[in-house]
């Protein structure tokens, strides 16, 4: 326990003094400020003339400013924070010969991973919370709407899910840093993993679904099946899991995580007429499975890290 705290403190100090962290933080701060500012401007325009807007405050996070909304931004580029914080965790120590020194002290091996992971996690928490606070502050002054208690609750849940999401990527990059001895290799592998699961998997999902259900044009049952297959494959992507688990939380007007809903004439009519927001508990209920999967994925990747690291030989060179 003591070893873990010592390593945690040292890693945290290292993070705070590293240039990498400063660059990252400046970048994130700048982008979130700009997106929020643009969103705020758009919001003021688009809300003009709306009689009773609901959850205006959350719109700050979901309505797109320049190109991305803040939520999308975190979903797409948040993983990079996690990867940058972790890709050289273990292999750098190995290359510099400090790993065997560290492990020749009376500490458990898992204390090394735990301490380093917790230090990275702390940085992630600081980043996410400060981004949200900055946007909240901007929102208060720009649109002049005070968030209600439910909006604050939703934001809190959103922050927690986002932290889990980034922690997953931190875990992945730590795993790569254990598996690959070379720092550059682990960085590239982590990037490739991110690109594949965030962008290419959708193409793959589409291709597989089209191959399995070739004639989906006319038959509505087939269309549903195809959409289901596509969605199922896409769910392997942490990005998809995260987008789904935050979908109804941050945007109460959404009622489902599905992109493809089959509705009849009358249903469509009633939907458009009674398009009220979901209550928080219902929103949470819809996305709970995704959140749990996201947490489970983080834990699996952590477990693999443990197993690999415990079994590794610590030759000094």
């Amino acid at each position: 326990m003591n070893g873990m705290i010592t390593i945690y403190k040292k890693e945290l100090a290292d993070h705070f003094t590293s240039n990498r962290f400063l660059i990252l933080f400046a970048l994130i701060a700048m982008v979130s400020l700009i997106t929020a500012y643009m969103a705020g401007l758009n919001l003021a325009n688009s809300l003009e003339g709306v009689a009773k807007p609901k959850f205006v405050f959350l719109l700050m996070f979901t309505s797109s400013g320049v190109q991305f909304s803040l939520v999308q931004f975190i979903a797409f580029f948040g993983p990079l924070i996690g990867l940058m914080l972790g890709f050289d965790t273990i292999n750098r120590e190995r290359n510099e010969g400090t790993l065997s020194k560290l492990l020749s002290q009376p500490i458990y091996r898992d204390a090394v991973i735990n301490g380093k992971f917790l230090a990275g996690l702390t940085i992630i928490v600081i980043m996410v919370v400060s981004i949200i606070l900055v946007v909240t502050g901007l929102g208060l002054t720009m649109i002049g709407v005070v968030p209600g208690i439910e909006e604050i609750l939703r934001l809190c849940i959103y922050v927690i899910i986002s932290i889990f999401y980034l922690a997953f990527w931190l875990g992945i990059s730590i795993l790569f840093s254990i598996v690959f001895r070379n720092v550059a290799t682990s960085a590239l592998a982590a990037l490739a993993f991110w690109i594949f699961f965030s962008f290419f998997i959708y193409l793959g999902a589409n291709a597989v679904a089209s191959a399995l259900v070739p004639e989906a044009m006319n038959d509505s049952g087939m269309m549903v099946l195809k959409a289901k297959i596509e969605k199922g494959i896409a769910l392997m992507s942490p990005l998809q899991l995260y987008t789904d688990s935050t979908a109804t939380i941050i945007d109460p007007m959404r009622r489902t995580t599905r992109a493809f809903i089959q509705v009849g004439m009358m249903e469509r009519l009633s939907m458009s007429r009674f398009s009220g927001p979901l209550p928080l508990t219902q929103s949470a209920l819809i996305v709970l499975p995704y959140i749990i999967t996201l947490i489970a994925a983080s834990m699996i990747c952590f477990a693999i890290s443990y197993i690999v690291f415990m079994r590794q030989e610590i030759r000094s060179l």
């Binding site: 003591n2 010592t6 610590i314 030759r315």
Partner: protein, 252 residues
Amino acid sequence: MEPKIIIQTKDLTKYYENQAAVDHLTFSVQEGEIFGFLGPNGAGKTTTLLMLMGLTEPSAGSANVMGINPTRDAIGVKRHIGYLQENMGFYRDLTAFQTLKFIADLNDVSEDIANDRIHSAIKTVGLENSSQKVISAYSRGMRQRLGIAEVLVKEPKIAFLDEPTLGLDPDTTNRIIDLIQWLSREKKMTIVISSHLLYQVQRICDRVGIMINGKMVACGEMDRLAEEKLGIGKEEYTLEALYMKYFQEGDA
């Protein structure tokens, strides 16, 4: 009085991809002595040291360090062993003081004692003037001395010094050798030193073990080994002659 045995191995064996790096090694180290661990590169000295600290698992055989089995209770063993590794790595952005503090914290040394120990260690190894400099500005000799300071801060019962004088200039080498003798005499540490610099080893070691291809070909007091092997008495032999004799036999 019979000397107390502090490290004991029995048939300790380590295979790397079907090749024995350490082959049925049986030897012991007595409490308070300086044990010279000699052998050509790749003879398995470092692997043996790593197994004794529980950092590497032996393929067969067993070891016993201060009554503890390092494979079972690595933490227990590591609490008693200070390890100066070959080509010691350091966190380059830390100062000497921060490095030593980090080591003290990892070893659960309380704040007051740690500060005392760090100051006296820095003084002992002669780094007073650069203790606030970051390590990336250190020369090789200074790093090696800082490595010994790390051992000092930990105050272990046993110190493993793996090639402590490798690549150092003669003056620094002498300082390190003096420091090692000081550790043994003043701090009553048991020291296992692996080295190629036979002249220095001969100067300070009580007993030596010569290891070739994973096997211990000779182990004991130098005088006795010299008499047995070279047939000449004290003060006439050099460790080098003795070592070469064993080495040629081992090769043949």
